[in-house]
Amino acid sequence: MEIPYYPGCTLNTVARDFDLSTRRSLKRLGIELKELSQWNCCGAVFPLTPDNVMGLSAPARVLNRAEKEGDKVTTLCSFCYNVLKRTDYRLKRDREGLEIINDFNEGDYRGKVRVLHILEVLKELVGFKEVKEKVSRPLKGVKVAPYYGCMLLRPAEEVGIDDHESPTIFEDFLASLGCDVVTYPKRIDCCGAHMAMGREDMVSEMSGRILLSAHEGGAEMVVTSCPLCLYNLERSEAPLMKREPGFKAMPVLYFSQLLGLALGEDGDGLFSGKNLYDPRPLLRDKGLL
């Protein structure tokens, strides 16, 4: 099966690990991610002011492209997913807005594309049971805390890939890999997002709470599906260790890296070593590398 794939800006740059590990893993599950032949930045944030549709032109162009190449499009980054999904949601309900955008883009988007996050692809198109069956190296004994953040869940009626208060899709996925899943209260809180620009103090506080909560739940590592979350979480560990002597740094990685590992990919292809806290020693300890 081929699925049109929108990588977004980071997946070919800072988040190459995310891109590569996902492509490889999915191949093993019989899915080929087919990168859109042309794409542009989605804008990174969904414009929150409904009085102005022009802010939607960039993501609309991506959707338009996707519509030409299939009936669905998948993305890995939570940010891209959120923007594309909300844009699509709005355009499907706002005929007038759609016309303006099409005019401006010289496009012809008709709202026939389904935007899927890669976790949804795994759940709905592959099936976690199927994933579990394909697992050749169960990740026994690794205590993993999934981190959802905001973009996959809110607003519930527009994007929510699962219940926005008690989601389980991430946990279910990790369980299918054989991990010990840690469910912790702060997994749906915000990491600080774009406060990375100029307000590291805020990010450190916000991401710090998430990390602490995962730590209290017994986690040894945190997985995420967003390059910005990963960046914020990693960078908040050092200050957190200073504040909370009991806290020990733990690796933060993309969930696809664990998927690859479980499916039998070799570690060198999955971990480029860019992580601030390298997960490999821990995985080696567990006999998984």
Binding site: H164, E165, P185, E216
Partner: protein, 659 residues
């Protein structure tokens, strides 16, 4: 040709000062069919009435118009006088020339008033010509009442009716009466023990000679109308012969199997498979829960039958259908609590120490599973810090219901007191949005919780509840200080919204009463007819109508009972003959009237051929239910339905007489 008499009243000077009554009377004489006219000083006086009677007889009149004050004043007076003179009272009409003429047109030349009075009287005469003699309707009345639901509201209604000497059937779907009140510990605002004040009433009811108590039963079908309802009641098989059972409890004691208890709201709390819901149950007769009893599932066990001395166990007992005729029905089916599993952020169902208010009642109840000791469910420890969260699901249009549940402010305050009385060193916190404690001694009660018992009230909602190190962490806001707050609690109690009974809408449809968007039953008028429904003869009591506390439920039970009693105090039902009437030859069964009628008074009636097969359907008006509003008449496009006393013909006659 008609023989109509016209009387024009001067009302002393009230009419005569701006209307030339004599001239009006003379003008009327010119109208064909008018054979007698007169003006007179005080028509409503004894002399005036005598005059009217005399004239009717002497001139063999077949109709009377009195041009005088508003019909709301003296229509009855003059109609009675006509009746005494042997004339059908509905052949008497009033022209309102006082309130709507002489008093509002102050023209002393009398020109204006006389002209208008002439017009009004003429219109009334023409209308009268089309009037048909009508007879008041006497409907026989069955002086026996049905009460549905045996909570405190239903118990109160049934007792009041029985006390006044009328028979009552009380139908309760559970094995015991008592309703929610039986589950409560102590009750605001007086803090008396719920069981202590409820049990005597339950017993009194069951012993009352006028009361027939049908527990474990449900109303299946209701037909008929006020005074004459026919109801079918399904009495579910208890598998215990009530007449033989002595209530010794031996069977319960020996039954080896258990199922979840409905009465103890706590998850996992069990009762036996043969059971009474709670020890003080009325009647104290057990029932077998057939869904869980192996005797019924796979023909095993049978112990209860062996141990029962009086041989009261009967596994082959069948449901019984009882048909009863009653004159009035009181609906008192109570409420449910909103299931809050959907509020993921409060952790209900996930975190053991997050419980509902009703659960807390059981915890605090001396007859509850902990004997009244406050112990948290996870590990049985006495909680040192308890957080109460109000408005859970209430006043939450997005995910719950928009209305206020009315009682939770009060019972949360009560809970803090109960808690403090039992755990002296404990601390109670309450998250609230507003405190709604209107009522006698209610606000004082809440203040006592704060000032004397030391409950800390935080104004704001809670955004999330989660576990950490055996504690329940509550994150919320205190909007008064404008800050976020976090409390490390041992237990959290949710004041969940009051919602209608499951199945409330279906029961309403069976009864033909209306309900609001949620399923609470509609009263006829929120202020002036609070316990009546729009279906004559069916009354409401208690929380089936909307959230309310025990005092209100009891007041309503008594009010509904008094409505029933006043209905029963008459010989039979006398109805004004202002009723809709269907011309079955013209009716084409479009059912427009059926849907338009606010009182469900139109019935769909099959016309049968000689061989008994249905030839066609027509609308028929149920005279017991019709209130004479005429909505159906205007709704009918085939002109097949008309309103007696206000027929199309009568209205057109009045309009035609305009000029």
């Amino acid at each position: 040709m008609a023989r109509i008499g016209v009387f024009v009243c001067q009302c002393g000077n009230n009419i005569a000062s701006t209307v030339d009554t004599q001239k009006v009377a003379e003008e009327m004489k010119k109208i064909p069919g008018v054979v007698y006219t007169q003006d007179y000083k005080f028509m409503c006086s004894a002399v005036g009435q005598e005059l009217l009677k005399k004239v009717v007889k002497e001139h063999r009149l077949d109709g009377i118009v009195v041009a005088a004050c508003s019909p709301h004043m003296h229509e009855k007076t003059f109609r009675k006088a006509c009746e005494a003179a042997g004339l059908n009272p509905y052949r008497c009409e009033i022209a309102n020339i006082r309130e709507q003429c002489s008093w509002v047109h102050h023209d002393k030349t009398k020109k204006t008033g006389t002209l208008k009075s002439t017009d009004l009287t003429r219109m009334t005469i023409e209308r009268l010509k089309k009037n048909k003699p009508l007879k008041t309707i006497n409907i026989p009345l069955k002086k026996k009442a049905l009460v549905i639901g045996g909570g405190i509201a239903g118990i109160q209604a049934a007792l009041d009716i029985a006390e006044s000497g009328y028979e009552v059937i009380l139908v309760e779907k559970e094995p015991s009466i008592g309703g929610h009140m039986a589950q409560l510990s102590e009750t605001f605002p007086t803090m008396d023990c719920s069981q202590c004040i409820l049990t005597p009433k339950m017993v009194e009811l069951s012993m009352h000679e006028k009361v027939r108590l049908l527990t474990y039963s449900e109303v299946e079908k209701v037909e008929g109308y006020i005074g004459n309802f026919r109801v079918q009641i399904r009495k579910k098989a208890k598998s215990v012969i009530e007449d033989l059972c002595t209530g010794c409890g031996e069977c319960i004691e020996k039954c080896p199997f258990k199922a979840d208890s409905e009465f103890e709201v706590m998850k996992g709390h069990k009762r036996k498979v043969i059971y009474v819901p709670f020890p003080q149950a009325v009647p104290n007769i057990p029932v077998i829960d057939r869904e869980h009893c192996p005797k019924f599932l796979k023909d095993k066990c049978g112990i209860c039958a062996k141990v029962c001395g009086p041989k009261a166990i009967d596994y082959s007992q069948q449901d019984e259908i009882i048909t009863e005729e009653v004159g009035a029905i009181v609906v008192a089916t109570g409420y449910d609590l909103m299931p809050v599993e959907s509020f993921g952020e409060y952790g209900y169902g996930r975190i053991k120490d997050v419980v509902s208010g009703l659960y807390f009642e059981r915890l605090a109840s001396a007859s509850g599973p902990t004997g009244g000791e406050i112990r948290r469910p996870s590990d049985g420890k006495v909680p040192e810090t308890v957080v109460f969260i109000q408005c859970v699901g209430s006043r939450d249009p997005k995910r719950g219901v928009p209305y206020c549940s009315k009682i939770c402010c009060m019972y949360s305050a009560k809970h803090t007191m109960l808690y403090k009385h039992k755990v002296h060193h404990g601390q109670a916190y309450v998250f609230y949005m507003d405190i709604r404690s209107g009522g006698k001694r209610y606000d004082e009660f809440v203040r006592r919780a704060i000032e004397e018992e030391g409950a800390v009230y935080l104004r704001g909602r809670v955004s999330s509840v989660y576990e950490r190190d055996g504690k329940v962490i509550v994150e919320g806001a205190d909007t008064l200080s404008g800050t976020q707050v976090e409390i490390e609690a041992d237990m959290v109690v949710l004041a969940t919204a009051i919602v209608p009974r499951k199945g409330a809408k279906e029961l309403a449809q069976r009864l033909g009463i209306s309900y609001d968007t949620y399923g609470f039953y509609n009263e006829s008028h929120p202020k002036l007819r609070p316990v009546e429904t729009n279906t004559a003869g069916i009354f409401l009591a208690g929380t089936c109508q909307g959230p309310m506390d025990i005092p209100d439920s009891v007041a309503q039970g008594s009010a509904a009972a008094s409505k029933v009693i006043s209905l029963f105090s008459r010989e039979d039902l006398v109805r004004e003959p202002i009723l809709a009437e269907v011309d079955e030859r013209v009716c084409n069964a479009c059912w427009d009237c059926y849907y338009a009628c606010p009182y469900s008074a139109i019935e769909q009636h099959p016309l049968k051929g000689r061989d008994g097969s249905i030839v066609r359907w027509v609308a028929r008006v149920n005279e017991g239910a019709c209130q004479g509003c005429g909505v159906c008449v205007a709704a009918c496009r085939s002109k097949a339905i008309d309103l007696k006393g206000y027929t199309d013909e009568q209205v057109y006659a009045a309009i035609n007489a305009l000029v």
